[in-house]
């Protein structure tokens, strides 16, 4: 029996991009449904009644929410190739620690940067501190996952399409502070089709951010 896999998506969402990369890595066929976050579909409200957020993965009718949980689910069910998590429990705990760090920091701080309100300078400092921490953690490795991408790479790389927007709205350079990270992002896109296919062009994200800022009355 064929598996039915549906992804409730919103194309600029870094969290949804994570799931697309994972599905791509595993070679899973799926249907992608775009959501309008200002007009959420009955399906989304039914599949994620608690948070009403995307991404939601629906596997044979059963919903899974929260992108990092979706990644772990995908890794467990489709374990025939491209493991996202290390097999060693200690390495796995370190990967989950860093994935959680990325989850708690980048989106919220990045938002304060592109929104450009009174706390923008503070947010820029915080963002650079986080990215420098991640830059140090990457060190001289090819990927956070070692020789191949893993859950930390998948958790972080989607935010790199937002770097241009952060930099332009905040008038600063991320590459200057985190050269290794920027090189790593390029490497992920060049070597992994799942990444290059899941990430929109940075200018598309910037266009979206400017439209959103207009909508929110920030420009």
């Amino acid at each position: 029996m064929e598996d039915e896999v549906v992804l409730l998506d919103f194309w600029p969402s870094s969290f949804a991009m994570r799931v697309k990369i994972a599905l791509g890595e595993k070679g899973i066929k799926y249907k992608c449904k775009q959501e309008d976050l200002f007009n959420k579909s009955p399906l989304l409200l039914e599949m994620n009644p608690i948070h009403k957020k995307i991404p939601v993965l629906i596997h044979n009718g059963k919903p899974i929410s929260e992108s990092l949980i979706i990644l772990q689910y995908i890794d467990q069910v489709w374990n025939h190739k491209s493991p996202l998590l290390p097999s060693d429990p200690y390495q796995r705990s370190q990967a989950l620690f860093w994935a959680d760090y990325i989850d708690k920091k980048i989106y919220g701080i990045g938002r304060r940067v592109w929104m450009g309100k009174e706390d923008q300078e503070e947010a820029k400092e915080e963002l650079m501190q986080c990215l420098k921490t991640l830059d140090r953690e990457l060190g001289n490795k090819l990927y956070f996952g070692g020789q191949n991408i893993g859950v930390v790479d998948v958790a972080l790389v989607p935010f790199t399409t937002w770097f241009y927007s952060y930099e332009t709205c905040g008038n600063f350079s991320i590459e200057a502070g985190c050269p290794k990270l920027v090189a790593w992002a390029k490497r992920c896109k060049e070597n992994y089709q799942s990444v290059s296919e899941a990430l929109p062009h940075p200018l598309q994200i910037y266009e979206y951010v400017m439209e959103l800022k207009k909508r929110l009355g920030l420009v």
């Binding site: 608690i50 899974i64 929260e66 772990q72 689910y73 467990q76 069910v77 429990p89 620690f97 760090y101």
Partner: protein
């Protein structure tokens, strides 16, 4: 046998999660009490990113963040499993663990608030309790884990014990048992488990400690 060390504080709900998990699995460990106002060099070395407790050190290797520690413990010592084996059930459990974990901040939010902020914090608490009542505890289960507690029960433990202390400290009744019958039953069942009952920080001690801290904090706020 590899040495297991746990860095914690006597009142931390996060530290207790790890204590219960280790005890449920029958793992011996050495407990090190940290003073959060004067953190030890060892803690700062083991958790340089967050500088917080709990930290589990297994065979000299540190693991930080209670939910990450719990998953590690469950994998290394598979007896008395704390997560379902089925991938879908496991994903649902992880969802509720994250939900609970993302709400623990409501403890300090209410603790620090007065006036309008306090009303807002109480509203958030009630919304969370409603979600627990209407969505998380359906099916007439004794525990989130079914007939036995699992990681989800452990994650929600701050509601079972620490909320009562907080209510005493701020002088408000937030949790009315008749309004949340499922949650109320769960709290009674959870606190009746001998391993939990025998391993809880003293409520009166926490209350006195927190009341004093809160008086000082609110006084400095109004100055």
């Amino acid at each position: 046998m590899a040495v297991v060390e746990l860095f914690g504080t006597w009142f931390s709900p996060y530290a207790y999660r790890v204590i219960w998990a280790l005890k449920l699995k029958g793992i011996s460990y050495e407990y090190i009490e940290e003073d959060i106002r004067n953190k030890s060099p060892l803690l700062l070395q083991y958790n340089p990113i967050h500088k917080k407790v709990p930290v589990l050190v297994h065979d000299g290797k540190p693991i930080c963040k209670s939910t990450v520690i719990l998953q590690y413990i469950d994998e290394i010592w598979p007896q008395n499993p704390l997560l379902p084996a089925d991938p879908y059930d496991r994903a649902v459990a992880l969802f509720w663990i994250k939900f609970a974990d993302d709400k623990v901040y409501l403890m300090s939010k209410l603790y620090q608030a007065d006036g309008e902020e306090q009303r807002a914090a109480v509203k958030e608490w009630l919304e969370m309790l409603e979600v627990m009542e209407e969505h998380a505890l359906i099916g007439g289960k004794k525990f989130f884990g079914g007939d036995e507690i699992n990681m989800v029960d452990i994650a929600f433990s701050f509601v079972a014990h620490w909320l009562g202390v907080l209510e005493d400290v701020v002088g408000l009744e937030i949790f009315e048992p008749h309004k949340f019958p499922r949650v109320s039953s769960w709290i009674q069942n959870f606190k009746s488990i001998p391993l939990i009952k025998e391993n809880l920080p003293d409520a009166d001690k926490m209350s006195a400690f927190s009341k004093h801290g809160r008086e000082m904090m609110l006084a400095s706020k109004s100055n």
